[in-house]
Each structure stands twice: as C-alpha cells, then as structure tokens.
Subunit: 319 residues, 2 copies
C-alpha cells in the first residue's frame, strides 16, 4: 500500500506521527512538497493525503483521496477521478477553531468600524469615532451548524448576544451554544430578524445562490453578512447592490464565485464590503494543521483495519 | 439644585430617563450639546454630567462632576477644580463590553494577519496566507482586572486559551474567567510566559511606564501587546524598538502618550503596530451610552438622598 502525503507545511513532528501511523497500517510512505514532486514509481499510489488532484485524474489505482480541506466540491464533479470508486474524505473538524476566530474578527471589524479607522491610520490619519454596533444583544443567524458553525456559536455566546439561531438541513444540532436550531425550509421567516447572518455551507445544488436577491431583501436594515463557506452560496450582484444602497450594514466575504477574485471585479469597490482572500481556514495555523494530521492518522488506521472512514463524503450529497 | 447634562449623543429616551431622575432628586435640569452652550445663569450649577471641564475650572459652586468616561486622570491635577471639594465620579462599568470587543477584534486582526490581507485588499490585491496565531492555547496576561479586564477575560475564555491570568494591585479579583489573579509585584515573573499582554490600567503614578524597556524585554519572542487603558503606561520608544526588531509579534494601541497622535510620530511607521484613534470605548455604541445614563440616574438619586456615590474617585489614588 503506497501512501503519498503532499503538504509543504508539515513539521518534523507531524511527519513522525504520519510515519508511525503508516507503519502501523503496513503502508509505505512518500512525502512530497507538491504533486509535481511525485516520482513516476509513486504515481500508482493507493492513498493521497493532500491536494494531489492531477494524480487523482490519471491514477486508476487510487483508492482513497484524503483532502486536507473541509470543502471538497472541486473533487466531486462526475468523471473527476480516474477510479470512479475512489473514496473521498474531507477534514471537517479541523477548521472550526480558526474559521470561528475569523468570523468574530471580521464581524467586530465591521461593527466597530475598525475597517475605517484602521485604513485611515495607514495614511497617518487620526479619525473621529463613528457609530458602532455590538455583538452584545445582537440577533445572530448561523446558516450551517457543522463544526464551523458550532465553534463560532460557542465563541459568540460569550459576547452576550440576544439570540443565536442555527439553521441546518435537518434542523438537528444539539450544541447548547445555539438557542434554537431550525430547518432550512424556515429560512425566509428567520431572515427578517437576523442582525448578523453567518454562512458556513458546503457547495451543493441546494446551497447555490441560497442567499439570493429576494432573501437579501428580507434582511433587516443595517444587517451584516459573513460568508466563510463557499462563494457559490451568494448572489454577488444582489449583495453588492444592497451594500452600495446602504441597506446592509456590511458584509465580509472570504470566499467568492471566482477565486482569486478577478482584478476587474466590482466587489473590490463595493461599499462596506470587507474582502479577505480565502484565509479564514488554512493550514498556516499550527492548531489546524495538527488536528488535520491527527484526523488523517486515525483514519489511516481505520482504513488498514477495514473500519468505516471518518468524514467519508457522500458524493451524491456533496458533503 | 441645578444639573447640567452635556452630551450630544443622548436620544430622547435617555433624556426622558434623566428628566425623571432629576425630578425625583428635586433638581432643575439643562441639556447642552456642548459646554459652550451653557447659558450664564446655569454657570453656577451644582452638578455636571458630561465633559464640562471649563465650568469645573471656574464654578466655585460645583459639587459633583459626573464624568461619562472611565479614565478621569485629566480631572485630578491639583487645582483643577475651582471648588477643590468637588466630588468626582467616573463611569467605570459602562465600557467593559465595548472595550472587550475592541481587544478581541484587534488581537485577532494581528494574530490572523488580517491587518495585512485587509490592507492589501484595499489595493485590490489577492494575497497568499501568512502564518497565523490563535487565541486557542494562548497564554493571556491581563494587566488590570476591573470591568474592562473582566469583560475581556469572559469573552476570551470562550476561545479556549491555555490560561488567563489577571494582575491587579491587590491580587484580588473573584471573576471566574481568570484562572488566577496575581499581585502587580509579581509582574516580572509573569511576563516571560505572556503570549498576549492586555493592558487596561488607569493613569496613576504607579502605572506610568509600567511596561518599560526591561519589562518588554521579558516578554517571549512573538508576543502581542494590546493597550486600551492609558498611553502613559507604556514606554513607546522601547515598544517601537521591539516591534521593528521583530521581537514582538505585534502591538495594538488605542491610547498614546500624546493624543491625537502627532502626524510626525514614528509610531505611524512602526512595523506590526496597529494604531486605532482612541475608539475602543466611546459613547457611539448604544449599549455603552444606555448603561452610562443608567449609572448617572441611579447616582443622582443616591446624591439627593445623601447616600454614598457609586464610582466615587479617590483623588489621592487616581481611580
């Protein structure tokens, strides 16, 4: 069993941990800095942990693609894998902490007008206070109650919001950080009282453009929108309109329909739009990387022992 | 009893609340937009709630100056009041929520390199992720365990830090958000394990330059410093040196030795220094303003009934 691990950020401790797991699983192991570094005699590997997408398209022997990311939509297009039975797992569970911190950071930047005072400070300007909003007494709606939504809700709760309502497909989520969890079919009735809408959804047919023009119109005056899931979930044109008109208080987008965001995109010049370059969740935070490696090592043992894989993707659902 | 209230941000509901309290206290009431709007026949008022500093310097009849701010150092210079027996209260307790949100926001901006990615986004640049740090597993040291320090600690705790240690003059603080609270005499032994140092201290002889060159040198490599108390607490030259050398990970200053920060200050061009223009706590946040008004109204009844005033400043201590 050949295992290829592609990740230039791994530290020696991570590599040692993976070596031990691979030995226990009875596999041979190759570390590569990028997938262009995979030698020809490893191109028929059984397992890839990392972004080995070119190999996945050509290697008919590939049995398991362990994605270090939470989103795996780019792997699920029909015909993507040379071996159509290749298992796909994601690393959902590794990103909750870091993405929750991102959501809190950009929300407070917007509410406290730090985007304004900070950008002026870069020009050496000492500005006067502008009207501020707060997470205190805020009505928060969290669309997507997975690891990220739950980690965010637990942190947000400490800021004494009026309410934190979760929304998921099933309406089931037992995390006590949510005051209530509703089904996505109730979304339209929830939007009019969402001072802050946090979106953390995978890309699936059901989530595409879920925040469309009609739903943006249902948000209250001055509402904030944060998207850390996938850019496909928002009608960007409609969002820009509502920001430029001053209806929305602000939006913070870390993900976009096209990434990198094209240099001629009108989003760059949209009022009260805080753009970050898909940095909410990435492996440059040691905690995220360590959890990610832990999860792979545990799953590698599962795989070797014939046990069910954690985080196995249902390709028909998309997550 | 003449009561002058100076605050252009008050809403009708606040004014109505103050009117009721003044009536109950048996006083007559004037609202002014600024202290220049106080008519001559109100210059001999008994009570000022607001920044009526010119009146305080000339009005020998002034008996109580209710400052809407938490810091009152500017009122405590000997000879400041025409009536040297004038009581001074501050509004400590109104600012914890808003300043705690500021501390979390600027800390995460620095740790997550949002200052970089956001400032680049203003130029239309899509940047690559930079190494990130996290409040998760962070060792936090909070210098000053008053309302602000406690409100911050309660929020920070939700981010799963390794520890939150408070430091106060007495070493006494019962807020369970702190894992432990130490005396300021132990500060030097605590600094070497402070990944994040949060400073929320009043300006007193003991706090001036408390973070001096020697103490900055005690902080670990890559530490972050946030100051929301008074600029007098930090040796700014030494801090700049430690930031420019790369020893510190970053600093976020909302307060400075001289405010507004002079346009030729070298702080504007210091590496990894996030400057905000004294906006952490101000009355543009409705929650802060409402608590502030609540506190004054309660204290006005105390005053009228001869009860002790809340938040009475000990002019010899400075807080």
């Amino acid at each position: 069993m050949k295992i290829v691990v592609i990740n230039r950020l791994l530290k020696d401790t991570h590599k040692e941990q993976i070596r031990k797991a691979a030995a226990k699983a009875g596999g041979s192991l190759l570390f590569a800095e990028s997938e262009d570094d995979i030698p020809s005699d490893w191109q028929d590997c059984d397992i890839i942990y990392g972004f080995g997408v070119k190999n996945a398209k050509t290697n008919k022997n590939l049995k398991w693609f362990a994605a270090p990311s939470a989103g795996v939509d780019f792997l699920l297009k029909p015909g993507f894998f040379a071996n159509e039975d290749c298992l796909v797992t994601n690393s959902s569970g590794a990103y909750g902490v870091t993405i929750a911190e991102h959501i809190i950071a950009v929300t407070l930047m917007m509410m406290r007008k730090l985007d304004y005072s900070y950008s002026e400070s870069l020009k050496g300007n000492w500005t006067s206070p502008r009207p501020q909003k707060s997470l205190k007494d805020c009505r928060i709606l969290v669309l997507g109650t997975g690891d990220i939504g739950c980690c965010f809700a637990r942190r947000a709760k400490a800021f004494e919001p009026e309410s934190i309502t979760g929304v998921s497909r099933s309406g089931n989520c037992s995390d006590p950080a949510f005051d209530s969890v509703k089904k996505v079919s109730e979304l339209d009735s929830l939007l009019p009282s969402a001072d802050l809408l946090v979106m953390s959804l995978p890309d699936t047919p059901e989530t595409r453009d879920i925040l469309n023009r009609d739903r943006i119109a249902l948000l209250p005056e001055g509402a904030y929108v944060v998207n850390v899931g996938r850019g496909s979930a928002i009608d960007e044109d409609a969002l820009c309109g509502s920001l430029n008109s001053g209806k929305l208080g602000g939006a913070a987008l870390d993900v976009f329909k096209t990434e990198p965001l094209p240099s001629d995109s009108k989003l760059w010049n949209t009022k009260n739009l805080l753009i970050t370059p898909h940095v909410a969740g990435n492996l440059t935070l040691e905690h995220t990387l360590s959890v990610n490696v832990d999860m792979f090592c545990k799953n590698l043992i599962n795989y070797a022992e014939g046990l069910p894989l954690d985080n196995l993707i249902d390709k028909t659902k998309g997550y």
